[in-house]
């Protein structure tokens, strides 16, 4: 019987082949990036030829090194990072709690739904100047902008994840005498986790946009401030250095999340 069971088991792709295919996929990605950078370098050197309009990658690297040497860059990264981290954390905690409340109680859902749907669809980032007026030019206003942008996808996904819990699975644990608390922790929450993760991931990009836009409207430091200041002084290499760091942060956080997801939710494909 064990043999029959063995042949019934799904065969999994071998390590060797998955490694090879991974390398192949990466090779194409790396090649594409290198090619893009090369074209960018050539265009800005020979076609545009003016640092005021477009900086070549090599010039961005030089600006990056100079900004790092002067200690300016680490200051900007620290401020923007802090704003993002605070706003993002607050939004995640509050968002998950609100999502839970909406899934647990119909009245909470009915009361919150119009606000959540309305504000999610609104480009709330346009309200950044208002928040700066209210909360000042310091980091507080940016934290608020980030939190406002991040919270809605988190609420919506948490609520949707909990709401779509399979009734059959709930019934199964109920047949073993599970109470409401056990149903929540053993079925609803684990089945909602992939949705919650998706919401947190969506929040990363929105949060980064929030940091930069809020800083553009008024700030003393931060990557957004570096970008706007560089634009005013036509310092394109420094501007691109700021943008590159933001892009790298976004990519790093998103793939970090992907990694965490595979660690925490190994049961998914």
């Amino acid at each position: 019987m064990a043999d029959a069971a063995l042949t019934e088991a799904q065969t999994q792709p071998g390590w060797g082949s998955s490694l090879a295919s991974g390398l192949k996929a990466r090779a194409w990605g790396l090649g594409s990036i290198a090619g893009g950078l090369l074209i960018w370098e050539l265009i800005s050197r020979f076609l545009v030829g003016n640092k005021l309009f477009l900086a070549a990658p090599s010039q961005v690297v030089v600006a990056f090194i100079e900004l790092t040497r002067s200690g300016e860059l680490s200051k900007h990264i620290y401020i923007s990072g802090l704003e993002f981290l605070l706003g993002y954390s607050v939004a995640c905690i509050l968002g998950i709690l609100l999502g839970l409340a909406m899934a647990q109680s119909t009245s909470a859902k009915q009361a919150l739904q119009p606000w959540v749907s309305g504000l999610y669809a609104t480009p709330t980032v346009a309200l950044a100047p208002l928040f700066i007026l209210w909360f000042g030019i310091g980091i507080m206003s940016k934290v608020v902008v980030v939190a406002v942008l991040v919270i809605f996808p988190v609420v919506i996904n948490t609520e949707a994840g909990l709401r779509t819990t399979s009734p059959q699975l709930i019934e199964t644990v109920r047949s073993f005498g599970a109470n409401a608390r056990q149903i929540f922790f053993k079925v609803a929450l684990p089945s909602a986790l992939p949705f919650i993760f998706a919401g947190l991931k969506l929040g990363i990009g929105r949060g980064l946009i929030g940091v930069v836009v809020a800083e553009l409207f008024g700030s003393r430091a931060g990557l957004g401030q570096l970008i706007s200041q560089s634009a005013e002084t036509f310092n394109m290499p420094a501007l691109f250095a700021g943008v590159t760091i933001l892009a790298a942060a976004g990519i790093a956080m998103t793939s970090g999340f992907g990694w965490l997801e595979r660690k925490l939710l190994p049961w998914r494909e």
Binding site: M1, A2, A4, A5, L6, E8, A9, Q10, Q12, Q168, L169, E171, T172, V173, R174, S175, F176, G177, A178, Q182, K186, V187, P190, S191, L193, L265, P266, W267, R268, E269
Partner: protein
């Protein structure tokens, strides 16, 4: 049967709004008995099983297990579902131990029993697999092991093999009998396959439809253990024929209705 009565059902009636699904069903099942329920689709087999499992309330009537009136679900009954309903984020082992976990006795002692149980259902070595890595037949084995893990007095099975291909289903039938011989639990097994019911059971309850009620109770007087080849003996075929004649009209009616 000279065994004491395990389950007794008394004048059970169930309606969904105006739809009368079960009308005054009364029956007794003895300890260690394997009873199947057959009947055309829509005759209320699942509803009946869910009421016995405590997952659904009857409009009137009583269900007693060892003399106690049942009011809700409990670990004195193990439910094997039609779809396997395994929790996808739990491994085979963690799925199997969900009952003990809910009951608060998931300990080292239980672990030994669970591992033995997984071996019994042919899943030794698959403890750490996730459901998506298993075939349909293997998932149904976990489904069965999960129900057995709470060591229930009564096993309730709702068409557990209906999603499997014909060969796997026959294997699972013999496997089920082998596992059943080990512990001789009382089993209430729902199926719409007449040969499956005859092959497995001591008695077969033949349900009529609209409203569902027991049309006839058939004693299956075939020796055990039963090899698959028994399905080709004249005695076996006679039982199947007899039951088929009983429900033929109802099946035709239900098929016509489904295509209407």
């Amino acid at each position: 049967m000279d065994m004491p009565v395990k389950l007794s059902v008394d004048k059970l009636t169930k309606k969904y709004n105006t739809l009368e699904v079960l009308r005054s069903i009364s029956a007794e099942i003895h300890r260690g008995e394997f009873v199947s329920i057959v009947g055309p689709s829509g005759c209320g087999k699942t509803t009946f099983l869910r009421i016995v499992g405590g997952l659904e309330k009857a409009n009137s009537g009583e269900v007693r297990l060892d003399g106690r009136v049942l009011t809700g679900p409990g670990s004195d009954r193990g439910f094997v579902f039609q779809q396997d309903n395994l929790l996808p984020w739990r491994t085979v082992l963690d799925n199997t131990e969900i009952g003990p976990e809910i009951g608060g006795y998931r300990n080292a002692d239980q672990r030994k029993k669970t591992l033995k149980l997984l071996k019994l259902v042919g899943l030794a070595g698959f403890e750490n697999y996730f459901p998506r890595q298993l075939s349909g037949g293997m998932r149904q084995r976990v489904n069965l092991a999960r129900a057995l893990a709470v060591d229930p007095d009564l096993l309730l099975m709702d068409e557990p093999f209906s999603a499997l291909d014909a060969q796997t289903r026959e294997i699972m039938q013999t496997e089920l009998l082998r596992i059943w011989e080990e512990g001789r639990k009382t089993v209430l097994f729902v199926t719409h396959q007449i040969d499956e019911a005859v092959y497995l059971s001591d008695r077969v309850f033949v349900f009529a439809r609209r409203p569902g009620c027991i049309n006839e109770i058939m004693e299956i007087d075939l020796p055990r253990p039963r090899p698959l080849s028994m399905k080709r003996t004249p005695e076996f075929v006679a039982y199947v024929d007899h039951i088929w004649k009983l429900i033929e009209e109802d099946v035709r009616a239900s098929v016509l209705e489904e295509h209407a």
